[in-house]
């Protein structure tokens, strides 16, 4: 009964890997667009964990409800984040996050 894909462990391992890849990408890349995509990866990993745990608590669907709201918030975040990237590009002519240092000087 311990077959691949039919217990929570396999989903937890996959989500851990996805979240770690996203976190490392966010911390090491310097392109604002790539960093935003890495944030999306992390949000998707969390969604996967919520839905996977919801699969063993079949009486309720709170996990899927949570994941629904996370998707809604992520969509809003992407809209505002990309608008900010566009505004930043208009000011500095770059999407390199190291160029966002106006407050430091």
């Amino acid at each position: 009964m311990n077959q691949l894909g039919f217990h929570v462990e396999s989903y937890l391992i996959l989500a851990t890997l996805l979240f770690s890849i996203g976190a490392v990408g966010f911390l090491t890349r310097r392109n604002l667009l790539t960093q935003l995509m890495s944030v999306e990866l992390m949000l998707n990993a969390v969604n996967l964990v919520l839905v996977a745990f919801n699969r063993i608590h079949v009486g309720t669907m709170s996990g899927q409800l949570f994941s629904f709201f996370i998707i809604a918030v992520a969509a809003a975040e992407v809209a505002v984040g990309l608008a900010l990237v566009l505004g930043f590009y208009r000011i500095r002519n770059s999407v390199h996050s190291d160029d966002a240092d106006t407050l430091r000087h």
Partner: protein, 207 residues
């Protein structure tokens, strides 16, 4: 370990997720990164189907693959060649090493903390009742228990969209500066309205 159709399906989706995530993080060209993100999202939607979350799989495809990735691609196309990252992933050796150490450390800590617990209390799937994760079930839950957060999410989305438009449009001060002297010049250098210069009125106007 028994290999079944479900196991093979899980492996395909998981490999798609991981490969897409790696492409997203490692690609120098952001368009490739966006396509890697798309691969990951489709893989996760497939896993949602395996987890009996049909509604979430549909939402995942509609919102992420249909809206978020398209928005990313639009912005990348708008920025053109400037969206390209010349340095690529971790040009400095230190950054590359730090990334690898961070990745293995987070996976290792998670495995060290979680694996013993899971070995003690295995959590296999139980038989799901009919309609678990269906549109009707999640939708009715959304409009009973989750009604207040649902309405708040709609408010959040409308505020985010208005804010995004306001941010992306930028300031239009140049237009106002150009328009003002033109109107004053016209006032002093000739008739204000074409009617006063003897030109015929455009059709459909009554004055």
């Amino acid at each position: 370990m028994m290999t079944t159709i479900g196991g093979i399906y899980f492996s395909v989706c998981a490999i798609a997720c991981l490969v897409g995530a790696l492409i997203t993080v490692l690609a120098r060209n952001p368009i490739r990164g966006a396509l890697g993100l798309l691969t990951t999202i489709v893989g996760i939607a497939g896993l949602f189907l395996l987890l009996r979350a049909q509604f979430m799989a549909a939402i995942q495809l509609i919102v992420y693959a249909g809206a978020v990735v398209v928005l990313f691609v639009f912005v990348i196309l708008l920025l053109g060649a400037d969206a390209h990252d010349p340095t690529g992933p971790g040009k400095a050796k230190l950054v590359r090493v730090a990334g690898g150490v961070l990745l293995s450390a987070s996976v290792g800590v998670a495995g060290y903390l979680v694996a013993p617990e899971l070995a003690e209390h295995p959590m296999p799937f139980v038989a799901a009742p009919a309609g678990h994760g269906s549109v009707a079930a999640v939708g009715s839950l959304l409009f009973t228990e989750g009604l207040v957060p649902f309405e708040l999410a709609t408010a959040l989305l409308i505020v985010a969209v208005v804010g995004a438009i306001a941010l992306a449009r930028g300031r239009s001060e140049n237009k106002a500066v150009v328009a003002e002297p033109h109107a004053t010049l016209r006032l002093f250098h000739g008739p204000v309205h074409s009617r006063d210069a003897g030109y015929p009125l455009p059709k459909g106007t009554d004055r």
